[in-house]
Symmetry: C2
DNA sequence: TATTCAAATTAGAATTATTCTAATTAAAGA
DNA sequence: TCTTTAATTAGAATAATTCTAATTTGAATA
């Protein structure tokens, strides 16, 4: 999602477009490492010197509620944030902790296999393994 | 996994078979609702009146490390525990929060679709939706 | 069976992640 | 520019989990 698209959606939803929201959104757009709230806090410090942790959490929750960012539960006890709103799954390298995005289309459709009692709104696959870059 | 199997594995790994470990393991075996650490704490209180929170966490971590229980990250900020060690996925009812187990075999194999750069050790699918029991 | 000792348990303090509170500031419409 | 309401802020509060240091206990051995 682009910075402009996020701004448009905030306005559509009657939410104010503030520097804090845009700096944090822009950071998430450019950062592909699925940062935690604390990663965001550290990263935006230089551009938002007065920004408190409360604002980081408020803003992340606002962006998630507005549907422009998603929160992912990977490791127990940590919440990570992702501005990639294309449906996708995650591949966690168990050696390094690096989380790779796996496009939705790359994995065959699963919804049919569950049967009619389960009405699926969404599903999220987390793969664990090792990534070998062809360096 | 049965109580006896867990006892055998603890011994195999050089871990002591203590009342705390067996009561907590037995609770997880019989409880199908994917309890949190605090749920476990409350549930075993009557059988282990002196059991502290530290022991709950120590024991759960020990059982997870021993491979007889698994920790699942579903909602952000909460860790849930599951003694069902048959490979399976989870279906979270977004209305009620109830987590249903979905047998691994019910979902078609996905490992092939990712390509050779990703060496998959494990994967975990979390479905979100609504469960309609045929009452 | 008693002794021994490393491992397990314990209470409570410490830490980490997150939310709440109440006062202050600022965005955007009139 | 003024006003209003939402957003931001610092720091306290809460929740989840880990750590610490003292105590207890399981089980190997004498």
């Amino acid at each position: 999602m682009t910075s402009e698209a996020i701004k448009r959606i905030l306005i559509e939803k009657g939410l104010k477009v503030t520097p804090q929201r845009m700096v944090i959104a822009d950071y998430l757009i450019h950062e592909k490492t699925h940062p935690t709230a604390d990663d965001v806090f550290e990263a935006v410090k230089s551009r938002l010197p007065a920004c408190s942790r409360a604002t980081i959490y408020n803003t992340l929750n606002t962006l998630v509620d507005a549907g422009v960012v998603s929160a992912i539960a990977t490791e127990p006890g940590k919440t990570r944030y992702d501005a990639n709103m294309h449906p996708h799954h995650h591949f966690i390298d168990t050696q390094t902790g690096v989380i790779h995005d796996i496009p939705w289309e790359q994995v065959s459709q699963l919804c049919e296999s569950l049967g009619s009692a389960f009405k699926i709104h969404d599903y999220q696959i987390t793969f664990f393994g090792e990534y070998q870059s062809k360096s």
